[in-house]
Symmetry: C2
Amino acid sequence: MSDLNPALPWLEALKWDDAGLLPAIAQDAESGRVLMFAWMNREALEETVRSGNAVYWSRSRSRLWKKGEESGHYQKVSAIRTDCDGDVILLAIAQEGGIACHTGRQSCFFHELQGGRWVPVDPVVKDPKEIYAK
Amino acid sequence: MSDLNPALPWLEALKWDDAGLLPAIAQDAESGRVLMFAWMNREALEETVRSGNAVYWSRSRSRLWKKGEESGHYQKVSAIRTDCDGDVILLAIAQEGGIACHTGRQSCFFHELQGGRWVPVDPVVKDPKEIYAK
């Protein structure tokens, strides 16, 4: 894959895949913790830039998905980066509520491989029933 | 997407995509910096676990790619995580040479969106000609 051409308009410089999507990583701007991984299309990225809150493309629901729209756990975006070839987005965010995962954990990356098993190593901060009952 | 079932054998619990791949994020275990993004198939992940060094699947070359095989910039893996639904891998690594990017930078994520432009904001640590001339 060729390197990103910064002379192109920023949205066109990115290497959108055949489905018009890019992987997006959300990282806590303060702790550096990787909180979640999702997908964006052009509209999601434009809306993220415009609003300052992370907006993704839900592949399962085939629609834009403003993170936090159900849970209240919005993600305020402080910086947006892409990689050398422009095919991945990295967001620096502040996580509203300190919970990014639908399981009520801080990060979606809570399973660690230990002795050939996936072990949930992070605590549930808040019961999902409480998060989504509102 | 349903949550990961930790009762399944660890490799089968993951939700490999239609091409048999998963996205993989490499994060510096010490600084927390996200260094690169690549893809893994089952064999790459098994080899990563077996050897303790990051091995990816090169989509452009259609072959296993031991990170550092050309540059010497191997990635020693200290922990492997997956997310709530088991469709992304997060590696905690120590980056040999302190350079993950083929451009000679610490991280592949060196372009930041500033005023509607992608600006390369990180310094080149080592000239790629020196890295790949060996």
